[in-house]
């Protein structure tokens, strides 16, 4: 046995058998479909749960969902959100965000703000292509965030469903509510 082992070892050394074995694996891969894809031309399919850029959402009737409660600001681990809220003087008891900033250069995309939001005004989208030459444009303000929200509304909704933030559309309509109207009155104000 020993001699046989010795012989094998000698042959291994002389014939570079391990190289042949490895080459075999490598050559086999020549017949595989390539794993890579050509990015700007081909795009990945992104899962619903994907945590991309944040957007602000509106109710179906176009009203801003955000009530400026600042909970996202409190929840944010990187302190990149700044909400400035105020009373909407035209509607007593109506609080809304006059300004809403997300410093996307600081954002860590953890999704805590979405989890925290008591009205599901925030959602993450599948948008990830917003690289820029100017860092200033990465300070997303309220307008930009609503634009993202409007453009990627479907993705945003899917995100909320995927992360159990909302049930499906139909069900969520029953418990979705507007401040300051109590629940149950929402149906009327929706239509």
């Amino acid at each position: 046995m020993d001699t046989q082992k010795q012989t094998t070892r000698l042959l291994d050394a002389v014939l570079f058998r391990e190289i042949w074995k490895a080459m075999k694996v490598t050559f086999k891969h020549m017949f595989h479909r390539p794993m890579t894809f050509q990015y700007p031309r081909e795009k990945r399919t992104i899962p619903d749960a994907h945590r991309g850029a944040l957007g602000l959402l509106r109710y179906d009737n176009g009203q801003e969902r955000c009530v400026g409660c600042d909970l996202c600001e409190a929840a944010c681990p990187s302190r990149c959100i700044k909400v400035i809220s105020e009373e909407d003087k035209s509607l007593p008891l109506q609080r809304y965000a006059t300004e809403f900033y997300i410093d996307i250069t600081k954002c860590v995309f953890c999704g805590y703000c979405v989890e925290a939001c008591p009205v599901n005004a925030l959602a993450m989208t599948k948008m990830y292509e917003y690289s820029t030459h100017d860092k200033r444009t990465l300070m997303f303000d309220k307008q930009r965030l609503y634009e993202i929200g409007d453009q990627h509304l479907e993705d945003a909704k899917k995100y909320l469903y995927a992360h159990n933030q909302e049930q499906d559309d139909e069900e969520s309509r029953t418990y979705r509510y507007h401040f300051p109207q109590p629940i149950g009155k929402t149906e009327a104000s929706d239509s």
């Binding site: 050394a13 990187s78 995309f109 999704g111 805590y112 995927a162 159990n164």
Partner: protein
């Protein structure tokens, strides 16, 4: 190292530990200080090592780190326990899930929260997937550092499958933040389960493939066998853990001996090396991937089909979102937990978790209130670097890369 005061030029002496130098002609040589890093492709980030060389041999090495120091421990003191989870993603940014796991476990120990059974299984599965990712990453880069490029492509290809799976699971590939104190953020979906089962079938042959590339490769062997040997006693004294410690023959695996998650319900073995060299550490990691596959398979089979994935402890865990919309008490819970955090009891705990690099521990001191009073991260990378000087002494410059590669260091975790 010889003192240099009077003898700036020394005659190279034969080192009894390296008898092969006997045949070298006696030459006049000078001590050489070699500055490696901080921006060196093989240092896995920003690490600087100052090597004192005699010829090509390392006589002393001084590790300079802190280039990626972000004060994570200080940050922890100023956020709620919950807010710290995304910060743990960025410790060992290659294996965020395991950091999350270790941290959440520590806080659960502090809060005395029991995790629901299904969540335990989910956590274990994902943790083991993360271990595979970690080992794949290590294998690819270590082989690349030593000169075997092909393995890198193959391991990264397979790692990619799992990262995509993470993306589908929690929305991010690397910075996952999927674990929650008291459970996990989100349950598996049917497609996730199918995908992981597919992977279980797909992956074991791939391990054999990597092994084909390396196991008998004479360069690989020359660069790993007998390199950076450390005895069991020394390894323990230096606080090494994980594969680095087990390579030296110490059977220390927290998954087995301070078992947690669903590990106690799984059968698996802990591979232990003999020689304490780089090759053994490589071998252990390969074997651990095979064990991980076993664990995942067992968990998938044993896991209860239904059940909550987050403990229902109103004072600690978040309420389900739909309740927030309709119930005042859940709304209050939501606001209190996000704005002030939960009220931890005063006390201190240490909780170690077997991450793929070694023992990742969190030492938390609480004085009550929503933030930790002190949070210390016992990061294996940092502690392993403490043994670098000891382990590198007498080896060649080229081995330096192999040695810290064999610890599987990630600077994010090392510097914190």
């Amino acid at each position: 190292m010889a003192h240099l005061e009077d003898q700036r030029e020394t005659i190279y002496k034969v080192d009894p530990a390296h008898p092969e130098t006997k045949d070298l002609p006696i030459l006049r040589t000078e001590e050489l200080l070699l500055n490696m890093g901080p921006q060196h492709p093989a240092t896995h980030g920003v690490l600087k090592v100052i090597l004192d060389l005699e010829g090509e041999r390392i006589t002393k090495s001084t590790v300079v780190m802190g280039f990626l120091h972000r004060g994570v421990e200080k940050l922890a003191e100023h956020g709620t326990y919950h807010q710290f989870i995304p910060h743990t993603d960025r410790l060992d940014y290659v294996c965020a899930m395991y950091n999350n796991f270790a941290y959440c476990r520590a806080v659960e120990k502090l809060m005395n929260v029991t995790v629901p059974e299904r969540a335990e299984y989910l956590r274990t599965i994902v943790a083991e997937v993360q271990r595979i990712i970690g080992h794949l990453f290590w294998l690819g880069t270590q082989a690349l550092d030593i000169g075997a490029m092909t393995v890198f492509f193959y391991t990264f290809r397979d790692r990619e499958i799992l990262l995509d799976w993470f993306d589908e699971l929690c929305g991010a590939r690397l910075t996952t933040s999927w674990y929650r104190i008291g459970g996990v953020e989100r349950d598996f979906t049917a497609s996730l389960e199918t995908k992981i089962r597919d992977f279980l079938a797909y992956f074991p042959p791939k391990i054999d493939e990597y092994v084909v590339f390396l196991e008998k490769n004479r360069i690989w062997l020359a660069r790993t066998v007998g390199v950076a040997v450390i005895s069991a006693e020394d390894a323990l004294g230096y606080g090494l853990s994980g594969p680095t410690l087990r390579g030296s023959g110490v059977d220390y695996d927290l998954r087995k001996y301070e078992s947690y998650g669903a590990y106690p319900k799984c059968e698996f073995s802990v591979p232990v090396g003999k020689n304490g060299d780089t090759y053994d550490r490589y071998w252990i990691r390969i074997e651990e991937m095979r064990e991980s596959i076993k664990i995942i398979r067992q968990c998938m089979d044993q896991m209860p089909k239904e059940g909550p994935v987050l403990a229902d402890v109103p004072s600690v865990t978040l309420p389900p979102k739909n309740r927030v919309f309709t119930n005042l008490e859940s709304m209050i819970q939501q606001f209190k937990l996000f704005s002030q955090g939960f009220d931890a009891p005063p006390g201190e705990i240490y909780c170690g978790t077997e991450a793929h690099k070694g023992e990742l521990g969190f030492y938390i001191v609480s004085t009550g209130g929503g933030n930790p009073y002190r949070l210390k991260i016992r990061s294996p990378s940092f502690i392993h670097m403490g043994a670098f000087d000891f382990m590198a002494k007498g080896y060649m410059i080229a081995d330096a890369v192999t040695i810290f590669g064999s610890y599987d260091i990630v600077m994010g975790e090392c510097d914190r």
